[in-house]
């Protein structure tokens, strides 16, 4: 199997809270991440694509095309945004696990008609010390 991966970044605010629970319960579960006014991260995003290498271009997907898809579907939406206010996180706590799942969902359908390229995997790096993978690891 051959895959190509690319790294992006977005800066976003969030807070972790289940609305039906009390403040004390939320703090018990999420600690300082439950701060009611929110906090933020420089999220790293790694996107891995697989598919046949096009003999005319030497590529699985043109990097510019991949950048455009990721920019359009993820970065423009989440960069410098409050994730809790996004419709994709209504009823979904914006943990890094759920961000990885949502980002995968946003990207997956974008590769139809891209010469057989398909999304394999996304990785969210919430800080330099933790990372979250969703999808098939190469």
């Amino acid at each position: 199997m051959i895959t190509v991966s690319r790294r992006y970044q977005f800066a976003a605010a969030h807070l972790l809270r289940q609305p039906h629970l009390s403040d004390a319960e939320n703090v018990r579960i999420y600690g300082k991440c439950a701060n009611p006014n929110g906090h933020g991260h420089n999220y790293g995003l790694e996107v891995t694509i697989t598919g046949p290498v096009n003999p005319d271009t030497g590529r699985i997907i043109q990097p510019e095309r991949l950048d455009e898809i990721v920019r359009h579907r993820v970065l423009e939406r989440f960069d410098h945004a409050m994730l809790n206010e996004d419709p994709l996180f209504q009823g979904v706590v914006p943990t890094a696990e759920n961000i990885a799942t949502v980002v995968h969902g946003q990207l997956e359908s974008a590769f139809a008609g891209q010469g057989g390229a398909r999304l394999l995997h996304v990785r969210i790096l919430e800080t330099g010390r933790n990372q979250f993978d969703y999808g098939e690891m190469p």
Binding site: S5, R7, G58, P138
Partner: protein, 133 residues
């Protein structure tokens, strides 16, 4: 099953150019990649196997080092991929194709069954994996 990864770095120049196309058409298709340019590539080579009960090693890292020096560094480091290697006369020196070439070389050079995967970074933000089933 154990996996061991060794990293090396090499610097090479390249251009995306098809001999059957005009200069103008090459530039239109490949943009800045049609110009002579270069990258610091980072290659991570992963081998797999069971450690030898006596030595405790899957493969002596010195042997792996020597092999990478001979098979990869001597071919690609401070070379021009188009002009100094035979691999890109009929295919473009994209990271996908370069990784495919290196994977073929290493599969051939390593003892059967040892090759697990490679990861080739073209730069910090773009890399290609070739993974054995």
């Amino acid at each position: 099953m154990l996996r061991i990864t060794r990293a090396i770095e090499f610097s090479a120049s390249l251009r995306y150019r098809r001999a059957d196309l005009s200069e103008e058409e090459n530039r239109r298709r490949f943009g800045p990649r049609a110009s002579h340019h270069g990258h610091n590539y980072r290659l991570e080579v992963t081998i797999r196997g069971e450690p030898d009960p006596a030595s405790g090693m899957v493969l002596d890292l010195k042997d792996l080092n020597d092999l990478l020096e001979r098979e990869v560094m001597s071919r690609f480091d401070h070379r021009d991929l188009n002009g100094d290697t035979p691999y890109f006369e009929k295919r473009l020196p994209s990271p996908e194709n370069l990784a495919t070439v290196i994977a073929e070389i290493l599969r051939e050079a390593l003892a059967p069954g040892l090759f697990d995967r490679i990861r080739l970074y073209q730069d910090r933000d773009l890399w290609v994996d070739v993974v054995e089933p």
